[in-house]
């Protein structure tokens, strides 16, 4: 019945799926995750230890609770908003319903339910219900992606997945509708299941199905004679009804079939049924093959991370287990954007437009950084700046509906950046300003193209960005340093100056000398003083200045000037 083409594409996609999953698992065991890294063997042993601890102790109760609340009821999504939760529930249960009842019907349903037939109720009805649930969920997903931060981020990475899901559902409904109206399909069923004796019986059953089952027989039209319909009803009862409910129960496909009805003859001539069937199964198989490489992967990884969370407190993880966790977590993001919506420094992103400030975006760059070992200069700069703008508040980890331990990934990325010699943005700005022989390494092979990033505004952004040369200098331009008469009070009260043995040597310029430089217009020299970068921002200088020179504010402005200067060099580079 099923053509070779079906089998070939099924086994091909299944093979891709299996290989893809194996590739993922290999990544979890071997992918570098920064920090104290671990071998595949150690991670494998950590899995066994974790499993045995979880299954043979009281923790199995925790496992059950997590399974119920987090995996099956999606508690973490619920906390992030009802719409998000409704979307996920619709897709989750709709899809699972279709998978178990429809796609795997012959494997799962037939052994379990003796009377299972896809064409009888409640299965006929349920299939449309599940399909509609998925479509509603997909609709909410599309709506959400056109609003708020997700729109701003252009959640482009998962559009293909969303569209594929929609194609599977719509082609399924259309296929069902095309079958309902099809006289060809009717004839196949009659040939296979019905024992009709003569032409009159055939005509009677056709009349009955045309009236009650929505089949369209070109050339035969209602009204049929009452006698014919009664005979048809009897034949239907004897031959069909046990295995085929009336299609009106398919409450989406049936109305759709009424749209197809007028064109039935033409649709039959182009074999729409066959085309839709191919489209439907090919889309499904494409989804299967695509799963390990896409957002769909979360259907496997998210339950896994949630269950790991459920049984293992994070603090007690040994390095191998922690490395394994990070390796899995790097694959677990669904790019739902919840972390970025709540990120403590999301406001900084809105100003600086560096996507790697936002956790949902930073994760993708982090994964590439860990997997590839290197990034383009620009990506590296963005990752570093984002990593150091993060205030480590842990809110992203608390919020993540998939239960990813994001903050530990951020720590590992910073460790890894440091291990490879990439200093923090602050240290780098300091080095660029001051110079010195111990340059923090930055960029591949010593290539100097590593300055702090300031990506251009996103296309369609409504923000006006101040030109770099104006930024950070308002306070300097107000010229309040000109009130300084060099009394040295600022230097005398500075705790940094006080705690150094040879402050002049170590700080380059003392606070009052920096004010003097500013008075002389020597901005670069002032910026190049270690004092500018070792300021504790305690405001003693400013508080005590008899001339009300905003000394500490001026040092902030000088640092702003240095960061803005990095941008200029970046722009030229």
């Amino acid at each position: 019945m099923k053509p070779v083409f079906f089998s070939i594409s099924l086994y091909l996609s299944l093979a891709i799926f299996v290989l893809g999953i194996l590739w993922r698992v290999r990544g979890w065991l071997t992918r570098p995750t920064g920090g104290e890294d671990s071998t595949a063997g150690a991670r494998g042993r950590a899995v066994c230890r974790g499993l045995s601890r979880a299954l043979f102790s009281a923790r199995i109760v925790e496992l059950g609770k997590t399974l119920w609340w987090d995996v099956l009821l999606l508690r973490r999504s619920w906390r992030q908003g009802r719409l998000r939760w409704a979307m996920h529930m619709c897709i989750f249960y709709g899809f699972m319903g279709l998978l178990l009842m429809h796609a795997l019907g012959s494997l799962i349903m037939e052994p379990l339910f003796e009377d299972y037939q896809p064409t009888v109720n409640p299965y006929l009805f349920l299939r449309d219900l599940f399909g509609l649930m998925v479509l509603v969920g997909v609709g909410i997903a599309v709506y959400r992606r056109r609003r708020g931060l997700l729109k701003d981020l252009g959640a482009g990475r998962d559009w293909f997945a969303v569209v594929l899901l929609a194609v599977i559902m719509v082609s399924g409904f259309a296929l069902q509708a095309a079958k309902i109206v099809s006289p060809g399909r009717y004839q196949e069923m009659v040939d296979e299941y019905a024992g009709l004796e003569d032409e009159q019986e055939e005509a009677a059953l056709k009349a009955y199905w045309a009236r009650n089952y929505g089949v369209v027989f070109p050339g035969r039209k209602d009204p049929f004679s009452q006698e014919m319909l009664e005979q048809g009803a009897e034949l239907n009862e004897d031959n069909c009804a046990e295995c085929h409910s009336r299609p009106q129960a398919a409450f989406v496909s049936y109305p759709l079939s009424r749209l197809f009805a007028p064109a039935t003859a033409w649709l039959e001539s182009i074999d729409l049924r066959g085309l839709l069937w191919q489209l439907h199964f090919l889309a499904c198989f494409l989804g299967l093959a695509y799963l390990p490489f896409s957002k769909f992967l979360h259907v496997l990884v998210t339950p896994l991370t949630l269950l790991i969370n459920g049984v293992a407190g994070r603090s007690e993880l040994d390095p191998a287990a922690a490395g394994l966790r990070r390796a899995i977590d790097l694959d677990g993001c669904t790019h739902c954007g919840a972390c970025s919506e709540h990120c403590s420094v999301a406001a900084v992103f809105r100003r600086l437009r560096n996507r790697a400030i936002l956790p949902s975006e930073k994760l993708w760059t982090s994964r590439a950084f860990m997997d590839l070992g290197s990034l383009s200069d620009r990506e590296l700069l963005e990752l570093r700046e984002g990593s150091y703008i993060c205030t480590s508040c842990n809110r992203c980890s608390e919020i993540c509906p998939s239960g990813l331990d994001l903050q530990h990934i951020w720590f590992a990325v910073k460790d890894e950046l440091a291990r490879r010699g990439y200093a923090s943005t602050y240290e780098w700005a300091r080095f660029v300003s001051i110079g010195g022989k111990d340059a923090p390494r930055d960029g591949r092979g010593g290539k100097v193209s590593w300055l702090a990033p300031r990506p251009r505004p996103l296309p369609g952004g409504t923000l006006e960005i101040t030109a770099p040369e104006q930024r950070g200098q308002a306070a300097l331009e107000q010229g309040r340093y000109q009130y300084c008469f060099q009394c040295q009070t600022c230097t005398n009260v500075c705790p940094v100056v006080a705690c150094l043995d040879d402050a002049q040597d170590e700080l380059g310029l003392l606070p009052h000398q920096i004010m003097h430089c500013l008075g002389l217009g020597l901005m670069d020299q002032a910026q190049a003083a270690a004092m500018t970068w070792d300021c504790a921002t305690c405001y003693q200088c400013q508080e005590h200045c008899p001339q009300k020179v905003p000394v500490a504010d001026l040092l902030f402005a000088l640092r702003n000037r240095a960061f803005a200067g990095l941008d200029d060099r970046q722009a030229q580079g």
Binding site: L352, S392, T425
Partner: protein, 293 residues
């Protein structure tokens, strides 16, 4: 009396005991704290970009304003950062225009009508020392504390309006309500070192060590602080890093609401005392003596 509670970035995860103690103590004193989702106060990004700083801060102020509440923060760095930002937003009209545009993008607006309070101000000025004292049922005896003021609450004084910048007294007055004694020490108004932590660690530790040695020389049993970052420096950093440093005295640090909470007879567990890295358990011994007396 109700405030919007601004915990800052470090309390929820790193210093939950501070948030817990503030909630417990203010709860007993009838001060309501509304939980709202705020972002960073803006201090960390201030080194890099002024407008990013002002926008980050203004967003919080606008959110509180929208809710019709004034802000209360127990963190002196957040306090100083937000107060300074509110001032700059009035003073620097060019920056204000940029911030307003960024706020409008999120459907927010800032009118400059909310006020930022530090915990100590609320206790000393809004609740009042008399009302606080009335709640003290288990005063300390013979407990000597080095009170650490915290730079960003105190200065620049004309903007933060916290207390007299040269001779402040609000913290001592509040500490003495608990029966503890404040020792005079030279460095009580100086930096804890934390702002340089992660930027120049050696220098940060020098500043911290100088403070610890000074407090020890003055005979303090404990430091007393009212700032998240000062506590990170005196508690977390001291316990993790400074233990091996030669010539540095070891002085544990207690958060003010923990001290007050104990004096109010609250259970140590409600004050998160066991989460202090250097412990705080022996504070109870100073109380036990008081009960016996």
């Amino acid at each position: 009396m109700e405030f919007a509670f601004f915990p800052g970035c470090k309390i929820p995860y790193y210093q939950p005991q501070y948030g817990q103690a503030v909630q417990a103590v203010l709860g007993e004193l009838g001060v309501g704290l509304a939980e709202m989702e705020f972002g960073c106060c803006g201090y960390p990004i201030r080194h890099q970009d002024k407008v990013a700083y002002l926008f980050t801060a203004a967003r919080n102020l606008a959110l509180a304003e929208q809710r019709g509440l004034e802000l209360l923060t127990p963190c002196q760095c957040c306090f100083g950062s937000l107060r300074k930002a509110a001032h700059l937003l009035e003073e620097d009209q060019a920056a204000r225009r940029e911030v307003d545009a960024l706020l409008a993008d999120e459907g927010l607006s800032y009118r400059g009508e909310t006020r930022v309070w530090h915990l100590l101000q609320v206790l000393g000025e809004k609740v009042g020392t008399e009302a606080v004292k009335a709640k003290v049922v288990r005063p300390f005896k013979d407990l000597k504390l080095a009170v650490h003021y915290g730079c960003h609450a105190l200065r620049p004084s004309e903007i933060v309006q916290f207390d007299d910048p040269l001779a402040p007294s609000i913290f001592e007055r509040l500490v003495e309500l608990t029966g503890a004694k404040c020792v005079p020490w030279h460095r009580r108004l100086q930096c804890c070192g934390n702002p340089l932590w992660g930027k120049n660690d050696a220098l940060a530790l020098k500043l911290t060590a100088a403070k610890l040695n000074d407090a020890a020389a003055a005979g303090a049993d404990y430091l007393c602080v009212a700032c998240t970052y000062c506590q990170i420096q005196f508690d977390t950093v001291q316990s993790k890093v400074m233990g091996e440093m030669p010539g540095v005295a070891r002085v544990p640090s207690v958060l003010y609401p923990q001290l007050l909470g104990l004096a109010m007879g609250l259970e140590p567990s409600r004050l998160g005392l066991s989460r202090n890295a250097l412990g705080g358990g022996d504070l109870l011994e100073f109380q036990a003596a008081a009960q016996g007396a």
